[in-house]
Symmetry: C2
Subunit: 150 residues, 2 copies
DNA sequence: TATTGTTATACTCTATAACTATA
DNA sequence: TATAGTTATAGAGTATAACAATA
C-alpha cells in the first residue's frame, strides 16, 4: 500500500477523534467524565492520598479546577477529603472504595480493550505503528513545533 | 522492537492528546477554536453556501449549537448569513473572503505539517501505521464496541 | 402538521483574579 | 511574605426543551 504523509496525519486526527468519543461514551455510562476519571487514575497510580496542589501538578490544571473536580467527585462518593496531619491549610484527597474500584476497573478494561482492538494484528504492523507515533510525539516535543489542524 | 497491544493503544491515546493540544494552540493564535475552524473547513469543502440545518448534519451537532457557532463566526467576519431565495425560514451561511482565506491557509498548512512531521519516515513505517489506524477505526465502527479509556 | 432557526436553560472543561486561613 | 484552597467570574463546547415563523 502506497501511503503519503498527509494520509497518515489525517488518519491520526480521525483516530484521535474516535478514541475521544469512545472514551467519553464509556465513562458517561458509569457517571464519570474524562477529567474526573483522570483524577481517579492519577490517585490510583500515586498509591496514596494526594494534596490538591499535587493533583494540580499531575493533572496540569489550575488549583481552582482541582477544587471543582474534587467537589463533584466527593459528592459522588468517588473520593474523600481529609485533613493533613501537620499543615492545616492543606487537604488530602483519597480514593474511596468506590473510587478505587472504578479506577482499577478502568485499568483492567483498558488492557482488555487493547487486546480486543489490536490483538489480531501482526507484530510488524504494531511495530510500524509505534515507530510512527513515537516519531510524531518526538517532533511535537521539539521546540520549533510546526503547525497542524483538523 | 517488541510491541504489545496495550503499548500501542496507550501511544494512540497520547498522540491523540498531543495532536489536540497542538491544533488548539495553532488555532488560538489566529482567533479560532477547533469547533469554529471546522465550520470554515466544512464550508470550504462544500464549495457553496450551506443551510444551518446542513451544517448541523455535517458537523454532527445540534441546530442550537450551529446558531451559537455562526453567531460568533459572523460577528468575527469569518462567515455571513444570507436569505434563502425561496424558503424564508432558511438561512444560508457563506464564507467571507477572510473566512475563505483562513480555510485555505489551514488546508495548506495541514499538508506542510504532514511533510514536516512525517516526511523523513520510510514508506513501510507509514504503511504499518495506516494499517493499524484503519484497523482500529474499523473496530470502533463495529456494532459491539469494546470499552476503552485514558 | 412538519421544518428552520431561535430563545431559554443547563452541565462540563478550563482559565484568571481576588480572597481567607495558615505557615 | 508565601502557600493551600476557595469564592467570583468568564468563555467555550455541547445538550434538551419550548417556541416563532414559515412551509
Amino acid at each position: 500500500m502506497q501511503v503519503d504523509s498527509i494520509t497518515a496525519l489525517d488518519r491520526a486526527f480521525e483516530l484521535a477523534a474516535r478514541l475521544g468519543e469512545l472514551m467519553q461514551a464509556t465513562l458517561t455510562e458509569r457517571g464519570l467524565t474524562p477529567a474526573r476519571a483522570e483524577v481517579l487514575l492519577v490517585l490510583r497510580l500515586h498509591g496514596r492520598p494526594m494534596l490538591q496542589r499535587e493533583l494540580s501538578h499531575s493533572l496540569r490544571c489550575t488549583p481552582r479546577h482541582v477544587t471543582a473536580l474534587i467537589d463533584v467527585l466527593e459528592s459522588g462518593g468517588w473520593v474523600a477529603r481529609g485533613r493533613h496531619p501537620t499543615d492545616r491549610r492543606a487537604t488530602l484527597v483519597a480514593l474511596t472504595d468506590q473510587g478505587s474500584g472504578a479506577a482499577e476497573r478502568m485499568d483492567t478494561e483498558r488492557r482488555a480493550a487493547a487486546h480486543s482492538l489490536l490483538g489480531d494484528l501482526p507484530a510488524t504492523a504494531l511495530a510500524g505503528f509505534v515507530i510512527v507515533v513515537d516519531h510524531l510525539l518526538g517532533q511535537l516535543d521539539a521546540p520549533h513545533l510546526p503547525p497542524a489542524e483538523a
